[in-house]
């Protein structure tokens, strides 16, 4: 019983020892905050990545794709129909984007041109949630160009005043179609806008109704480029700059036609089939089954990958970053452990005579060891508990803290324009918190083992005579 009484009294009276666990407390709080923010970031990033890609992507090794994609869809349905919710054929290819500016100049960007059927693509993944209009309002994905846009074009205005039997009518109609092509394109938000430093909003260089030009490779033995014009009808804003600054969505049939891979009426090649599995289904298992089924049809031609596999390097980089940060922060707690060791050693020296008296009164070596181990445990529980509460409070009020720092310093700590998040995303995983707290307690208790052992080995007579 004396162990607990003395441990409690030491805890109440030895403030220097409490000071030693402040570093443990700060380490625990930092680890909880860092892990919560990183989990928030990576969780949001995963959601967005997953939203852009379907659960499983079946693609051909050849960029020109395959014509029998309806059969491939049938194979997928036949083999995993009970586990697959939807499929969508797409054509993905590299390209160059030309944005025509009002001053007559043009901006050229390297892009990924993706041919889709909006209704099908909306069923696979959260693609439709990322499509918005110029004001930022979500809109249904569609490539339809409103007739009014052509009417309001310079040629359109003239056309309205020109009788149908006028020889100019046909020329003006052609010019109106050229000025506002009837083929819509959904442009990545970062492609369509520029952000001027010091401003809070983005300026559109390719607003709704703007004409853009695309160049992409044609199919065939010789590498040749195809050119096509589109009208911007919407913007794709996922929050992932990698996609928002690269993706241009165009009608699948038009892309097939222009690449000389289709007749423009739906009969053509695709190089990807997006597969959405039903909720609760293990997509890795489905991906393996699809791969086996397609390999039996055309060995080595199709590559089937889950969205996680496709984003492997990025997700792995985030995981490694989080792991390294945790290791570094744990090292900080380990350093704090050495502080505890030093202070405990000092306390053992200070308490040498008391230890001798305790032994004279019949305390065993184990009992004396127990005093200092329970003291170490109590200190670490106090430190880690306080650190956990502090960490959780910081996470809970993180955005308020950020706003307060912003108003105090006049600078943005967390710039939503960079991350596309309106607030700092956080996610508290109870297991991570438990792991951090238990790990820190273990380090702190381990640091008290050596001083406790030293105390227990003190000879009672030498301890009593200690000056």
């Amino acid at each position: 019983m004396y162990k607990y009484l003395l441990c409690w009294r030491y805890l109440k009276t030895r403030y220097i020892a409490l000071a030693s666990v402040i570093s443990v407390m700060l380490g625990v709080a930092t680890m909880i905050v860092v892990n919560a923010v990183m989990a928030g970031f990576s969780g949001t990033m995963r959601d967005r990545l997953h939203g852009i890609l379907a659960d499983i992507v079946v693609e051909s090794y050849d960029l020109d794709g395959f014509y029998d994609w309806r059969e491939v869809q049938s194979i997928i349905q036949d083999d995993c129909g009970d586990q697959v919710a939807a499929t969508a054929p797409t054509m993905e290819t590299f390209g160059l984007l030309k944005i025509y500016l009002p001053n007559g100049e043009a901006v050229t960007r390297q892009v990924m041109v993706i041919g889709i059927r909006p209704e099908d693509r909306a069923k696979t993944g959260d693609f439709s949630e990322f499509v918005q209009d110029e004001s930022g309002k979500p809109v249904k994905p569609s490539f339809d160009v409103p007739k009014a846009w052509q009417t309001h074009s310079p040629a359109g205005h003239l056309l309205a005043d020109t009788p149908k039997d006028d020889p100019l009518h046909e020329i003006l109609a052609q010019q109106a179609a050229e000025q506002v092509p009837d083929r819509g394109a959904i442009l990545g938000y970062a492609l369509a806008t520029i952000h001027r430093p010091g401003t809070t909003s983005d300026d559109f260089i390719a607003p709704e109704g703007a004409k853009i030009g695309l160049a992409f490779p044609k199919a065939g033995r010789k590498p040749e480029a195809a050119y096509d014009d589109y009208t911007v009808v919407g913007f794709f804003k996922s929050g992932m700059s990698e996609y928002d600054s690269m993706h241009v969505y165009v009608p699948l049939e038009r892309l097939q036609y222009m690449r000389m891979l289709g007749d423009g009426a739906g009969n053509g090649a695709v190089n990807q089939i997006q597969v959405q599995v039903k909720p609760g289904v293990d997509m890795n298992v489905v991906a393996e089954r699809i791969q086996r089924a397609l390999d039996s049809r055309r060995p080595g031609y199709f590559r089937v990958a889950t969205w996680e596999e496709k984003q492997g390097p990025l997700l792995e980089a985030v995981r490694i970053e989080q792991f390294i940060l945790n290791v570094l922060l744990f090292l900080i707690i380990a350093v704090a452990g050495f502080g505890i060791l030093a202070i405990f050693s000092m306390i053992v020296v200070e308490k040498t005579r008391d230890i001798g008296v305790l032994k004279a009164l019949g305390a065993s070596n184990g009992g004396v060891r127990g005093i200092f181990l329970s003291y170490g445990l109590a200190l670490s529980v106090v430190g880690c508990g306080a650190g956990m509460i502090e960490g959780l409070l910081i996470v809970h009020y993180l955005n308020d803290i950020e706003r307060a720092i912003n108003s105090l310093t006049g600078t943005r700590v967390f710039n939503p324009d960079i991350y596309y998040f309106s607030e700092i995303p956080t996610h508290i995983d109870p297991w991570t918190v438990a792991g951090v707290v238990l790990g820190a307690i273990m380090i702190a208790v381990t640091a008290s083992v050596w001083p406790a052992q030293r105390a227990s080995k003190l000879h009672p007579v030498q301890a009593i005579r200690f000056e």
């Binding site: 008296v357 032994k359 009164l361 019949g362």
Partner: protein
Amino acid sequence: MIFPFPSKDRHVSTLHLHAVGLKKTYRKGRSLEVPVLHGVDFSVSQGEMVAIVGASGSGKSTLLHLLGLLDSPDSGHIYLRGERIDHLPDRKRDHLRNEAFGFVFQSYHLMPELTALENVLMPHLIRLSPWGWFSRKKELKKEAAAWLDRVGLGHRAKHKPSELSGGEMQRAAIARALAGNPQMILADEPTGNLDAETGASVMRLLRDLNRERGLTMMVVTHDLNVARQADRIVRLNHGLVETYVPGLAA
């Protein structure tokens, strides 16, 4: 004449603790050896109060530590009520120190974090498990308070050692030594840090307790006035029991 064994005193009859041929050498480093006891024979009877006197370095405290199992002799044997105890394993030695012996030290050695009452309770706190303690807490606290009353510190029960005078601390230490209901009190210079008047009152207290309760007591001292209050005086000189001075009891 060397005569370390008890006389046929009025209330001294059975051997309580005796030691035969105790030798102890302290070693400092690899080469330096300081022989302290050279084969001491010693005994004390039930209810006897023995004073051990001698010059500094004569081995008085070492003898007390060996008899109280705080240290082990290099050779020789120690018997408690006829049972050999010097060779016991640590666990049993801890037990005996807690239950059979009560120690009083020159520098009191009270726990500074605990109150006088808690210090007095320490032998029980060491002896009992948390469950045992909580089931007997009331009774033991009452008993400890009674011991504090007995040594004249009833009004100081909740005071920390830093709030007590030297004499009061020594009285609290005596109460602590008695609280565990030991068979024997081993006091090492109990008046060494006290002025003459306070020292005398502490010795009177020890003597009264010896008489009231028939407690066996060994008091190490270099003060002959203190030693005179014992039933018997044993003088140590250069690690040997040199003189036995009977009949000097107060």
